[in-house]
Symmetry: C2
Subunit: 290 residues, 2 copies
């Protein structure tokens, strides 16, 4: 019965393909057998439903569903740039430029690793911003204009970038340790920064994305020169960006770069809204974007 309320209007087609793996067990009033996963699942009526691809084969991802995948628009303008004018813009710009030095030295031309580390950091701002706007909306009893969702979607998109590059470049133990430290510092710094000045925070992310585009362009050059092997695209990337089955790493970098250009636009736009003395909720957020 609960399958009905789990349907959103548009995913009807998928939902009709669902087959319940476990029938809900209606004995209630006791804690259920904790040792046996199947019984617990039945007790709470939470069952994994079988989702299929459009071609009928089983969907193997839990982190994203077929209706959340998309085709990237590779025609997006990669060269757009926000020329820093105000002191705050310049500070955001030079903070990002300064962060590039240690990164360049650490990774040199290992663009696979670099991409992986970049994405671990890139998935933080959207989550922090989304969370802070969520709490603000609750506290002030006011609408968010869709920005909570827009920022959380950005965070999730960046995380999918990471899940993709993970398949190509396996992180070594000291890289994992480094990421642990970097995340701890960056999360808190961005949290504080966003509280103090969302205008600055979004501008900085805009510039970070501009650097990301640059970095992926270098990645593509190395791939074309043959310095990095153009391996087949990981399965997760093929499903997430609806790529043809014979796609390669190069195709993946292309769509990731388009995503970054999109994040750049969203974040510079968000900063611009603040520059106009408005709050984000006053300008409708980009919807259905990734």
């Amino acid at each position: 019965p609960s399958s009905v309320r789990n349907m959103s209007t548009l995913s009807l087609e998928e939902k009709q393909n669902d087959e319940k793996l476990v029938q809900p067990d209606s004995t209630s009033g006791n804690a259920g057998g904790n040792k046996d996963e199947k019984r617990v699942v039945s007790y709470w009526g939470i069952q994994a439903s079988k989702v299929t691809k459009p071609d009928g084969t089983e969907w193997k991802w839990n982190c994203f569903m077929p209706w959340e995948t998309y085709k990237s628009d590779l025609s997006i303008d990669l060269k757009k740039h926000h020329a820093p004018v105000t002191f705050m813009d310049k500070m955001a710009y030079w903070t990002v430029k300064a962060l590039r030095f240690p990164t360049d030295i650490f990774f040199q031309r290992r663009y696979g690793c670099r991409a992986m580390m970049l994405e671990t950091v890139a998935a933080v701002p959207g989550m922090v911003g989304g969370m802070l706007l969520h709490c603000k909306s609750l506290r002030r009893f006011e609408h968010s204009g869709g920005w909570i969702k827009a920022l959380l979607e950005e965070a999730e998109n960046e995380r999918m970038h990471l899940m993709t590059f993970m398949e190509v470049a396996k992180p070594r133990w000291y890289e994992r340790a480094l990421m642990f430290a970097v995340q701890g510092v960056f999360f808190n710094a961005y949290f504080l920064g966003y509280l103090l000045s969302p205008k600055f925070a979004h501008r900085m992310v805009g510039y970070l994305e501009e650097e990301a585009i640059h970095s992926y362009t270098e990645f593509l050059k190395e791939l074309d020169k043959g310095n990095i092997e153009n391996v087949p695209a990981p399965a997760i990337a093929i499903d997430y960006w609806q790529l043809p089955p014979d796609s390669t790493l190069r195709d993946v970098v292309m769509v990731v770069r388009a995503d970054e250009a999109h994040h750049r636009d969203v974040n510079h736009f968000a900063s611009d809204i603040h520059y106009q003395g408005k709050e984000l909720r006053e300008a409708p957020a980009p919807i259905g974007y990734h």
Copy 2:
């Protein structure tokens, strides 16, 4: 051009109804006129697209889209209960029961206000849990099994409850001040709690949801007795839960209560997974749930 990449496969129908309000302006390389919102919008190519309802009238919400609405399953079992067995379960249970005392005294029979305040708090755990799982996934380079999305969707659903009750009961200044303080304390407490023991945290939310169901059942009784006026349902509720246009507050409370029963199931289930010594990502998350 960017309209193509913003499409997710299933929202195609909606997207075809889109009319771009502003055409992207392709002059690039300068910061754009910050004073003129329209120009900024054009410069970054972020435009609000016109979304319509299935009946062709304009969609007035930015916080949720037509394809995110759903019909509630009112047949969900409202009486399911997790009998606390372990010491930790009992602690979670009695913590929640203890929190009911001051709440009962403060609100007495003002269930409209009570609902509003409850929802401000209820929207916190999903966001905190989702955020922590997101960061964990990034740090450990591992998949999340869909739980990040499931928890963030719960948070968003709770926030929509708040946006709905806000229309019915306007908060007074001291209630707003109280919420500010309560959020500050609860957010941090839950954050710490989730870090220390997600098992405990989810169990506690499960019990909170059981109390929420009880509280909405009392609300319904007061409505039926005529002690609370059964006003027409706010427009936002009619669109979010796909209710008939002549729905009333009673219908809204019914669907909200069903949502809470669903949260109860998800959170007790999450706690059960931890009780089995597993991590959430090892059991696929409920997908497409609200």
